[in-house]
């Protein structure tokens, strides 16, 4: 198998969510001396971007997104330590969690996959994350962005509780706050004082990149 065939195979098998084959091709590529970053940026990420595009067009649905994400996650487990060893830098650190009282995480997990595919380091705190846990995790990990996810109208108010906790801990200005989830709107995000909102996984990646670039530009300008 040629290197080109490895990349093509990785792209196509990720697209259809064939986890075992994606892992096998990853191993074969590494065995041939291919750079982990090549496998990631020339095959896995473009494939996941295509998955996102098909989802936006309505050609893919959540199961297809999840199965592709699982395939990519399997390869990432193998590549992540190698990428760290080779000094590939992430574009930013994203701390993520579903708010207290809410166990829904399908959307959050899709966002995580897309963020990681886009080059973010993602730290996922899981579900039912209390405000104090967000605070301690921000202190520990120093993320660029923290994301609060909620699926229920009854748990959305935790966004405000979390932001209040960040303010009380003196962390609010250190971190970009993004919110999302099925019932969330831009208006609601504005009302609770979040910095950003996006309606789906692909849009979250774009918004996160924009917000991060904006913040870095401000820092660079000495603001």
């Amino acid at each position: 198998m040629t290197r080109e065939e490895i990349l093509t195979g990785l792209y196509e098998q990720t697209l259809v969510g064939n986890g075992p084959e994606v892992l096998s091709l990853t191993e074969q590529g590494l065995g041939m001396g291919m750079e982990p970053s090549t496998l990631l940026f020339d095959a896995l990420i473009p494939s996941l971007e295509e998955v996102g595009a098909r989802f936006e067009r309505g050609d893919f649905f959540v199961p297809e997104m999840l199965i592709a994400g699982r395939a990519m996650a399997g390869a990432m487990e193998r590549l992540r330590p190698l990428l760290a060893d080779t000094g590939v830098e992430t574009i930013g650190k994203f701390l993520m969690g579903t708010v207290k009282g809410d166990v829904h995480d399908i959307g959050k997990n899709l966002v995580n996959i897309m963020l990681e595919g886009a080059g973010f380091e993602v730290i996922d705190l899981g579900v039912q994350v209390a405000p104090e846990k967000f605070v301690s995790a921000i202190e520990e990990h120093q993320p660029d962005i923290v994301g609060f996810s909620a699926f229920l109208t009854t748990t959305m108010p935790m966004f405000k509780a979390n932001i209040n906790a960040l303010e009380k801990a003196g962390l609010r200005d250190q971190v970009i706050v993004m919110v999302g989830g099925a019932p969330v709107t831009q208006e609601y995000a504005d009302a609770v004082g979040a910095d950003g909102y996006a309606a789906d996984a692909s849009a979250t990646v774009k918004r996160a990149k924009d917000l991060l670039a904006g913040k870095r530009a401000l820092v660079g300008a000495g603001a």
């Binding site: 199961p63 999840l66 166990v103 399908i106 099925a182 709107t185």
Partner: protein
């Protein structure tokens, strides 16, 4: 096609009429049309059969116009779909009601109802309509990972849940969807033998313990009575 609670179903609107759209409140029903003295209930297909049973039992002059229950898996489509049907019904019937709760539309259905001056069933989901919103809140506060079933969901689980989540094609995704769920509560309208076995089978497929709460349809009946009185 509508489900009439009386023998007047021959006067029901055609599908084409159902799908017509128009601006709110632009037409009045004809006095000669028997439907002018009846109520059209534009209902979620997941509860339409219960509403028909209740209306028949109570002798209410209600024609049920069910919409596909699978809309629930795409809740952003519910409000537009409801609105697409309101024109024809409002032109034909003396009164129209929307037999949906919010159902994951997050206010979009209320906007449609407000625009047309039409009331809907109260509550966030049909679970509220069977068990009461307070009890649902209590269960969720106690165990946020509660997966609710109704008789409809028990009967149609393979089609409306399993297949829609892609679990027929990708059974390995089950834990991706349900790993944080801790129990199944079946809000049973009719906790009879065969359905109970089916509910147990559903819970087993999800790998979760089952609790059966017999609700009947009394709370839905009360909610419907309030809706018709609006």
């Amino acid at each position: 096609m509508p489900t009439s609670t009386t023998a007047s179903s021959s006067n029901s609107p055609s599908p084409a009429e159902d799908l017509s759209t128009q601006e709110p409140s632009t037409r009045e029903p004809s006095a000669q049309d028997p439907r002018a003295s009846r109520v059209a209930a534009l209902a979620c297909g997941a509860i339409a059969i219960h509403i028909a049973d209740i209306a028949r039992r109570r002798g209410w002059p209600v024609d049920i116009h069910p919409l596909p229950p699978l809309l629930h898996n795409h809740p952003h489509r519910i409000a537009p779909e409801v609105e697409a049907h309101l024109g024809g019904l409002a032109a034909a019937y003396g009164k129209v009601v929307v037999a949906y709760a919010d159902c994951g539309t997050y206010g979009a259905l209320d906007e449609v109802c407000d625009r047309w001056g039409i009331a809907r069933l109260q509550g966030l989901h049909c679970y509220d309509l069977f068990a009461g919103a307070e009890r649902i809140e209590e269960w969720l506060a106690d165990q946020p990972g509660t997966f609710f079933l109704t008789d409809f969901l028990v009967k149609s689980f393979d089609r409306t849940v399993w297949r829609e989540l892609g679990l027929d094609r990708y059974p390995e995704l089950r834990d991706d969807y349900f790993r944080h769920f801790t129990q199944v509560i079946w809000l049973a309208q009719d906790p009879a033998g065969e359905l109970r076995e089916e509910a147990e089978r559903v819970a087993a497929r999800l790998g979760l313990p089952l609790t059966v709460i017999s609700t009947g349809d009394g709370a839905l009946e009360s909610a419907l009575a309030l809706l018709l009185a609006c």
